[in-house]
Symmetry: D4
Subunit: 214 residues, 8 copies
């Protein structure tokens, strides 16, 4: 038994003959399914098999069906550069799929700090913030300093040379001087959105079932 | 100015002549202060200057005053091995300081899975889980699979050889197959607790100030 | 002179013109041969030359002939994810080729611990366990804690980002807190199976030739 | 609860006030105890508390009581250089403690291949071989080529510069061209011995409880 | 012969018996000398030998004599955290020693972006900017985005865990998305100041000696 | 708002449909545009859309329009090997685009020191030096020792094996024993030229606006 | 001016339009030329232009003309595995080109030590030994222990996983316990042969021009 | 048994009780002995036991007796910086001990190329060159370009930050563009000298025993 939102398939490296049947089974059981990391060619084939499916070329996500839940509050997805959008959109679409209300704020890299600060009010009003950045990965530190909300940082593979395919921003985010921030794997927009949804779900359910304290 | 909980001093590498006056100023302004990463020798000196202070030898945290907030729900701190306790206690004491209700569950490493599973019900009832592990850092993956709550993983510097002073569990946690999990820096119990408190604060405040959606 | 099971060819990076003749020579001498790491295209060519050969697409192993030995007991091959099967099957087929009785237990990753524990009795009855895992490589630690038998861990190249093409689970397995476990190279199902067979051969031959002690 | 041989304490980084009581409890329950990675100063203190204890300065192991089991066959411990003896002896004493019959063969590094080959007959008669080597870690490859028995390789932290505190021989052993060999963590003589004992235990118990095959 | 400013001694790892005579010789020849990376104990000895010397405990720089040059414009030294001051002061004192007019701006880390932006006008008026940062090393990117002047980034060894003793901010600064920025070695305040002074010297000398163009 | 020279597009990984419109907009606003990291195939398409554009196959830079500024002095671009020219030309063309007077000095690697020294006079007359080198990256150290001017070092991805795709010369340049030198990312000829232009702009503008000193 | 054997072109990454003319020029000046790292397709084209040329598919070396020198003694090239031959042959052909008398000894990996030792007498009679090995790179240590002659070790890129594309055997060879051995870059058969030829040239020229001693 | 020059003891990490007796035995057998990597304190003790011994504080080498051999020609030891002398002297004293005629050329780093070139004639007359360099390790490339003799490069642990305790110059030397150069481990002056002596021994013995060619 898989936990929580079981209708998600990780498409990377899986053949269509493999994905098709699982999709069928999940649609039968849950009335919906989401496939991530699916390239356009495979998506085309699957759209043939599942005409009701929708495919998004940027995030490379294919979906059948709609979210059942609709959490209040807002998950904000920020992205430093336009090349990071494929990760930001994986996060945004996943969060929406899981029931979150998502606000996108893109192309707000730290080398042009004014653009970011123009949205300061909105940023502080967000419930949870997913901050996506490649290169040196500095955006989450600045955002983390602006808010008193949980910040989930996502390093991306966008960069070259000393960027080490994302290892550099990953380590930099880990070493951030901003509190209240945690990090997921390189390009893992899905994982960041999943944790954001877990938080929104907790907010939505509340903490009434008080457990006896140790 | 530190954001949110401004009365925390990072004691590592700071001299007493430096810490003392800042403590004084923070006590004046907030009526309380917390110093982390403070070794026993320095603590002794500061206990001389601030007799109302309390020092915890395991977490190496010194505090003056008490938390003002008291969030509902529960932050559970799990630790794999007894050598990881200094990190787990940094997390637990920080979370308590920030107003969280903390439950500790220690010495539940994955090589003795039955001990962990004996607490399964309690684990699933927690609001947020901080999972501390050195060596191969496998515990968060197992815990993440048991719950539908946010899991914050903390790799520790406890291990040797291929463990690379914590880089190995850090990378392993990043690569975890469990969803809903994010990671903070090696030995950063403080950072994990800070994020947990941000989540509990969000839960406590709720999401009433609905922002207009993009 | 090569040791032990000399009729194995490592196919990676070898041309058909190179593999064909060696196969012929080994069949002449031993009546059988096994080729590992052989892609489907090359396999097709070789099946033309050796019509009695059998090729397995998942493990990418081609064989002519059958094992002569048949050890008692059981080598269990466990795999964490379905993407790791190519390594697990390299191990399983190699172990069978060398005379082992093999039991497969797949898709038992630690993020869904119940699926693994459902097979607990069988697991504890195995003689030797080969545990294959990509991502964070946590499965061998859990399995190692369940048994008092030798565990051979195989990290796989399945994962992304912080997974470092398998270096992360390799180092994690090395750092495992479970005793009685050792590790082979990334994706080296062959090597794990070879050692498992060495163990079963020792069990089968027994330890009668007592050597004088130092 | 530690699995199998529960009476072992890992002494590294533990205080005497911590180790003493656990020792007492384990002696009560099992009549014996072994402490590894114990420096001479701590050992002295503990010898005061437990006068029946024995301490070995090279392996840094302290023991109370004797092994109950006595497996047939032979575990051979080979070491490349004299500086690697502290690891080799950790392996040898642990294996003996667990009931193995141990043969030591030290100072047989590959740069003087004749010394090693002088023992060729004995080497091929061993049941399991633990091969300890620092520097470039080449010895296990040569030994692995001489025998048809399981070889457990242990890289050591002895070396400098490009040796990277043992990471280099660890990776080299992983990449070995000899089959039937697996690797444990740097300096982990204990872990190698534990696996060797698991193998000898399997040999001693045999494989009579045939499990139904998949 | 050291180029340009020959009266500088790198004190790290040099004995007093070694430094003393070189100092004497340089004072004879140039009437002044500067020693960097000199610990307090050695400084005390040298102050005995050269009573006219001055020692700064933070930068660990000892000087005899005064700068001859006095460039116009301004070299601004910014530092992210108070723990980075030893590097910032090495830069500041070296730049002053070489004739630069130095402005210090400390404790302006990106997690509290308002403090930095409060000095925006001054920052844009600086001629050259040396930006010192440990942890994730994000400050130079933000500063680089505010100015149209050369920015020299200095990563520091202040941080822990994923910070890798400065390798992480070094790689992050290299990967920065801000243009016009270059990087020197970890903690190398001296090197950054030296380059800043080379720039101010060029500005001061002008570019009158037009060389024939290719 | 982007800083300084806003009419530059980083072409790597961008589609023509993406680049074309931005080019149009920038030409409208600034009368000119430069695209870097543009492969020949994409360039061909864009030359169709913008017939006034010019494309350089070595640097992979496409430009429309001409520099407005013309700084005095001279930026010298030195390259160690002929394989490094693609980086050297990215630097040279960018510097020219930004208004610098550029002198190229190529194929002057340190293993043939006489070729380099034949240009010694010219080298010492340059205002700023951009030194491009792959392999072991030694050239900047030698050049840095010849001049009292700012040296900007650019490691390249040209090399193999221990060269680690440029990480080795990057780290070597960072560790250089020559003063007054700083380093940019691997293959980042653009970044080096940008900083060189910032320096020439400062020289050209002078330092008349004296800011009040701290 | 290039040193020593100036008629060598490094073909990697060079276009035919680039190589052709240089070849022509070198043939004019020296009557001969050698091109290394030349793939078969480019070679075909060049054989059209230079019909007197000879191309070797394994080493990927193309030559025009013959060696002028003929040193006495013997350079022995040993290779561990058959997959390493492309490097071994680069070494062998280069050494022959430079005038050395070359003896090849292939497929003598340490996991089958008897094959190597069968040639022991010949090995000890060689003047200089080039030892080529991928995987764990253990062969040079064993050979180094057999001879009192200079040993030049060449790590190769043949291996997988923990082998790190040759970094592992490179570091292992560096850490070797055999004296009298030095190492060149991964796959650098050319460099090893060049040094071997330098040694044979020294032997051939002798050391008559005694320089006055310091 | 150590090969060739058997009377050498590696002192690092060995106790006096261990070194003393081996020294005695080697003096008995060979009339001489050399101990490397011996700290001053241990040396003092051993000088008590062996009053005829001589100890050199820089190289940390202790010797009893004199070289028997006296090769013609000249081994030149070059060192880039004065901090590298401990390695250079280990090389120089070892080479002398083995019978080489040694010329020292120190403090000739590449950032002051004139100092190096002042010795150009002498450099080209040397038979073998050992080039010692820390920091970026550029010296061997320049020297290699000046001579047609074997160059053995020795990276040192002198440097900081990006220098990675010598790994950076090691990798840089490996990637050198100068031909005829090979590399030994970090700080391994002994190993470089040993190989130089092997070369001088070959020169001295000549290559008269022509072996039959393959
Ligand atoms: N883009 C993604 N990145 C990381 N994990 C993912 C992604 N998409 C799906 N997953 C996880 O992979 C699981 C499905 O894996 P699988 O059974 O291999 O399809 C889901 O339940 C998620 O936990
Ligand atoms: N998949 C594999 N992974 C690692 N080693 C293998 C594999 N298959 C075969 N080998 C080893 O490679 C040897 C054959 O190598 P070769 O002579 O190159 O074909 C066999 O005897 C095995 O020891
Ligand atoms: N070759 C290059 N390398 C690094 N950065 C570049 C390069 N070319 C342009 N840039 C930077 O990238 C910015 C444009 O990025 P973009 O908006 O993604 O096109 C420019 O303003 C420059 O700062
Ligand atoms: N296979 C090789 N590996 C390393 N260096 C080589 C190789 N072949 C040639 N070289 C070196 O490269 C130089 C020629 O480089 P280039 O001028 O780029 O053709 C020669 O003089 C050699 O020093
Ligand atoms: Mg915050
Ligand atoms: Mg979960
Ligand atoms: Mg077990
Ligand atoms: Mg074997
Ligand atoms: Mg700027
Ligand atoms: Mg200079
Ligand atoms: Mg030898
Ligand atoms: Mg040369």
């Amino acid at each position: 038994k898989r936990q929580g939102f079981p209708e998600v398939i990780y498409g990377e490296g899986k053949a269509i003959e493999h994905i098709g049947p699982i999709m069928g089974k999940l649609i039968d059981r849950h009335g919906k399914v989401m496939v991530t990391r699916l390239d356009a060619e495979k998506a085309e084939h699957l759209l043939g098999l599942f005409p009701e499916a929708e495919y998004d070329r940027i995030s490379r996500i294919l979906t059948v069906g709609k979210p059942e839940l609709a959490f209040g509050g807002q998950v904000m997805v920020l992205a430093a550069g336009t090349s990071d959008l494929f990760v930001a959109e994986e996060a945004a679409l996943t969060a929406e799929w899981m029931g979150c209300n998502v606000r996108r704020l893109y192309d707000v890299g730290v080398a042009g700090i004014d653009r970011l600060l123009a949205y300061r009010d909105e940023i502080t009003r967000a419930s949870v913030l997913i901050v996506v950045a490649g290169m040196e990965g500095a955006l989450p530190s600045v955002v983390g300093g602006l808010v008193e909300r949980p910040v989930i940082a996502v390093p991306t593979s966008i960069g070259y040379g000393a960027h080490l395919e994302g290892i550099t921003p990953l380590l930099a985010m880990m070493s951030s001087c901003a509190s209240g921030m945690s990090v997921v794997n390189i390009d893992n927009g899905f994982g960041a959105a999943y944790q954001a949804a877990m938080i929104m779900k907790l907010v939505s359910e509340g903490v009434h079932h008080e457990s006896p304290i140790s």
